[in-house]
């Protein structure tokens, strides 16, 4: 038999995943069932590669109401696996066997594996497997998936059953008039449906399960023919057909459990699980404990000096970038020279200062030269100098080539009079001068403690500025970039190795830039997120596997239900403060598909770490007096989530599916290392494969249009105005005009922010480089002043737009992957784009109106959009689908 398929079915928390990992090892494939976000896992049986194990979603029943259940039963009915391996939690036999009775009716070969036998034995209980097997009419094995006991046997038994096919009589669960009616329905279905599934079909007809009847293709005349029998039964039992079936099933199981399970008399009054539970769901302590656990995760993953950030920085700058010092090998420089006895960081700081002195003085000198000799005279003189030098050039050894000088002091007398004033090192994030750090004891101590030194009279914390004269310039020129290998064991990063390798091969600058900055840059963007994702998922897998996650939903449900989300939605939003990518993936822990989709759409509105860079820059340049701007962005993010949740819930996309909150609270237990590892690895792997496919080409494309002109010439960073990005920015600038920054610069910065949000600040610096201003900050300030009469409003609008439109490409790719269907991915993007655009539009247009800028067409549009948004939030809720609503009244 080629490719035997065995379906793994069972309740959530019954150890199904553990068994699946045990049987398949690492040979698994994780994806989504087509069109839905329900996880689909399959793998091959270890040592038997023609056997495929299909892990079905964890379900309690085969009802037509929950997505997971429909997915599972459609698979079982349509695909007809060769056997079902039903895992049953031995410590919770009664409820677990409920699904078993339904699975048996499908008429497929089946084996029941009673799991958690170690727990059962520890409690002193006994399960009579032989008797259970006889009652159910299928083989029963006792296993302990956690310890790997009996798992192989269970798989082999299922294989044997698959080869044998169904034999023997399956139990008759129902009694009295119900059984009579079912037998009658089965009879009338004879020849209309397959014999093996006739029992299943009869019960579905009895339950009036429309979805199943449709799938099975039961003729309408049979339905109407048997309707009288069903109604008679309902009258007799004074209940509806579906409830009659459910009740009788449980009554039957109660009977079986009574005969096979011997409960120990020495039951501990309160188990450890109860004790933990008393503590974590305590009336007063519950919320603090929950917040504390979130803080721990937040610190681990995304806090400023936490392990996640350190790992991420290492991955981006070290491992994937230039290189890194091996921990514990770093030391002060021992090589004689300018950096002797300095630590690496200090050496870098010193070099940055000398470098700033050098370039600022050279710039000042050029200006003075031009002032003295006329506009453009310096460039002409330098050209002449280079031509002369070229003519006189003699190669010292073979292969030496002439290199044109980029700067020369052409007028010694002039140089002696040139002094560059107020030289400073620009802060990478804000473009502002970095602060002075003095060496006095008090300030050093504060810095070591990680506190900000606000001055002790020695100028600490003030902008560090100094003057450079000709003598200082000549000294500054002598400094060379510190060699990291003099400060410890230096491991070159992959990016640096790649660059060096290409240099050795002698490829041109264009190809090198394409490979290193373009292609490798794209790969590195994807891989750079791996540390934070891994940490978040290790933590979440732990919370899920130990049973705490269900309690989180239990504690938080009350709050989040109000705006249409689940109690578990809180976790993605907290993760989202650090990074949107693991936030979107963290939504996986939410069972209800509707809640999960809403959470995915909303959780990236919380400004993430990269967006914080944008906030920091704009706060420093435009909103210095307004300390509340940065926290305000978080408040806006939260407001969008709450109001967006309310509006979405009332929209036709999310209305109607009133999800019941009926949730098992599983017993607490210590998760296994292997379980957590599998959980985490599968998710990280999924992210790398799926997200990478989208991000990689997108990154390469954006890099390409930023660095090339239409003739495919590689451009220097400063020459961005000749790039394709400039032209493309001009084409779409109209889109941003109503927001107050409708220029190619605004468009280019916003588009490049999609690679990574912090890219917006870097691009702004590049596109503003030709503006007047002593620093990047001043240039950006002048850039916004060039947009119109209200630069501050334009800046606020630009910031809001970039914070609240769809997140970076990595997060978008993850959203698409987690949504399961492209249609929902597009929905998310459209929603987010609308929110970001509407917000920026309203703030700018209404701001301009208040500031006296007059009333225009776009002011009217902004007001209309706002009114519409208010209507979507405050309109009455759509009536929930009556079929799903519980009749409520006493």
């Amino acid at each position: 038999m080629a490719n035997i398929k065995i379906a793994l079915a069972g309740n959530p928390n019954c150890g199904k995943t553990t068994l699946f990992n045990d049987l398949t090892g690492s040979d698994q494939y994780v994806g989504n069932w087509p069109g839905v976000t329900v996880e689909k896992k399959d793998g091959r049986l270890k040592g038997a590669h023609d056997v495929v194990i299909q892990d079905l979603p964890g379900i309690y029943s085969l009802s037509p109401y929950s997505l997971e259940e429909v997915v599972a039963r459609n698979y079982l009915v349509n695909e007809k696996p060769d056997a079902i391996l039903n895992i049953v939690d031995g410590s919770n036999l009664e409820r677990n066997l409920y699904l078993t009775t339904q699975l048996l009716e499908l008429g497929l070969p089946m084996v029941v594996a009673v799991n958690m036998m170690d727990v059962v034995k520890r409690n002193g209980d006994k399960i009579d497997a032989t008797r259970l097997s006889k009652s159910l009419g299928c083989p029963v094995v006792e296993i302990s998936a956690l310890k790997g006991e009996g798992t192989r046997e269970a798989a082999e038994l299922a294989l044997a059953e698959a080869k044998k096919g169904v034999k023997g009589e399956r139990p008759h669960v129902f009694t009295g008039s119900v059984e009579h009616a079912l037998a009658h329905i089965e009879e009338s279905l004879h020849g209309k449906v397959e014999n093996a599934t006739s029992r299943w079909a009869a019960i579905k007809v009895f339950e009036r399960d429309k979805k199943a009847i449709e799938t099975l293709g039961v003729p309408a005349d049979i339905i109407s023919h048997v309707e009288d029998h069903i109604t008679d039964c309902e009258k007799e039992m004074d209940d509806d057909a579906e409830s009659i079936i459910t009740t009788q099933r449980y009554n039957y199981i109660q009977g079986i459990v009574g005969t096979v399970l011997t409960r120990s008399s020495r039951r501990a009054s309160t188990s450890l699980s109860d004790k933990i539970d008393k503590f974590v769901t305590h009336r007063i302590l519950a919320l603090p404990i929950f917040i504390l656990s979130l803080c721990v995760m937040w610190w681990l993953a995304v806090a400023e000096k936490g392990p996640g950030t350190i790992l991420t920085d290492w991955a981006n700058d070290g491992f994937l970038g230039d290189g890194w010092h091996l921990p514990f090998t770093t030391h002060a420089c021992k090589v004689d020279g300018k950096y002797k006895d300095m630590e690496f960081e200090d050496a870098q700081g010193e070099f940055a200062k000398q470098d700033a002195s050098k370039s600022k003085w050279e710039e000042t000198y050029k200006e003075s030269y031009n002032a003295k000799n006329g506009e453009g005279s310096y460039d002409k003189a330098l050209e002449a100098f280079n031509e002369k030098a070229k003519a006189e050039f003699k190669p010292e050894k073979e292969g030496d080539e002439f290199e044109a000088s980029e700067f020369e002091v052409l007028d010694e007398a002039l140089a002696k009079t040139v002094v560059a004033k107020d030289v400073f090192v620009e802060d990478e994030e804000t473009g502002e001068p970095v602060a002075k750090e003095c060496d006095c004891e008090k300030c050093s101590k504060k810095r070591e403690a990680g506190e900000e030194c606000d001055g002790c009279g020695c100028g600490c914390g003030e902008p560090d500025k100094w003057d450079v004269d000709y003598a200082a310039y000549q000294k500054a020129k002598e400094w060379e970039e510190p060699d990291p290998s003099q400060f410890g064991v230096w491991v070159p990063g992959i990016g640096a190795l790649l660059g060096d390798g290409l240099d050795k091969l002698g490829v041109g600058e264009t190809v090198k830039s394409l490979v290193v900055d373009g292609a490798w840059g794209g790969v590195a963007t994807v891989l750079g997120f791996v540390p934070v994702i891994t940490i978040v998922f290790l933590f979440l897998a732990f919370l899920e596997d130990c049973g705490y996650m269900a309690r989180v939903a239990f504690i938080m449900d009350r709050i989040f239900r109000k705006f249409g989300l689940s109690g578990k939605s809180f976790i993605p939003m907290i993760v989202g403060k650090g990074c949107g990518v693991p936030a979107v993936m963290a939504a996986r822990t939410i069972e209800s598909e509707r809640d999960r989709r809403m959470t995915i759409i909303l959780s990236t509105f919380i400004p993430c770490g990269a967006k914080t860079v944008i906030i920091a820059m704009f706060a420093a340049i435009f909103f210095r007096e307004m300390w509340y701007v940065a926290p305000l962005m978080d408040v806006i993010g939260i407001a969008i989530i709450v109001l967006g949740g309310i509006a979405l819930k009332k929209s036709r996309f999310f209305a109607g599916e009133a999800a019941p909150f009926v949730m098992e609270l599983p017993a607490y237990h210590m998760p296994t290392f292997g379980g957590i590892f599998h959980h985490t690895w599968n998710r990280v792997k999924g992210y790398m494969l799926k997200a990478g496919v989208i991000i990689f080409p997108a990154c390469v494309f954006l890099w390409f249009i930023m660095h090339f002109d239409w003739h495919f010439n590689l451009l220097a960073d400063e020459a961005i105005e000749q790039s394709m990005l400039h032209d493309m920015g001009s084409w779409i600038a109209w889109f941003f005009a109503p927001l107050g920054f409708g220029s190619w610069q605004g468009a280019a910065a916003s588009v490049s922010a999609e690679i990574a949000k912090e890219q917006a600040t870097a691009t702004l610096g590049l596109v503003a480089a030709n503006m007047d201003g002593a620093s990047t900050a001043a240039q950006i300030s002048n850039l916004f002043a060039s947009f119109g009469d209200f630069p501050k409003l334009a800046a606020m609008s630009f910031m809001l737009f970039n914070l609240f439109v769809p997140p970076c490409m990595v997060a978008i790719a993850t959203t698409f992957r987690e949504m399961g269907a492209a249609k929902w991915g597009w929905f998310a993007i459209a929603f987010q784009l609308f929110v970001g655009y509407a917000l920026a539009l309203s703030v700018y247009q209404i701001g301009v109106l208040i500031a006296g800028g007059g009333f225009g067409v776009w002011t009217a549009v902004a007001i209309l959009v706002d009114l519409w948004v208010l209507w979507t939030i405050f309109r009455p809720a759509r009536k929930a689908n009556g079929e799903l609503k519980l009749e409520n009244g006493k």
Binding site: S243, T281, A553, D557, R558, V662, M663, G889
Partner: protein, 72 residues
């Protein structure tokens, strides 16, 4: 009396489930059928949902849902 009126720590036997459709089916699938004994264990810190012990395990449902379960 309905299940949401049962005090924490007290047990009751289910007499009847009102309503129909998904929520009712889900509640019954989880083992809350006619004649089953349930114990209310506790109420969530914010006052809703509630936690029950039924058929030897712990189940959480909202008060709205509990209000549709008649007990004796």
């Amino acid at each position: 009396m309905t299940l949401d009126e049962v005090k924490p720590g007290q047990a009751a036997t289910i007499a009847r489930l009102r309503g129909d459709g998904a929520t009712k089916r889900r509640i019954m699938d989880m083992g809350l059928t006619k004649g089953t004994e349930v114990t209310v264990r506790k109420i969530a810190p914010l006052g809703d949902p509630i936690e029950l012990t039924v058929r030897g395990y712990e189940l959480s449902i909202r008060k709205d849902e509990a209000a549709a379960i008649e007990v004796a």
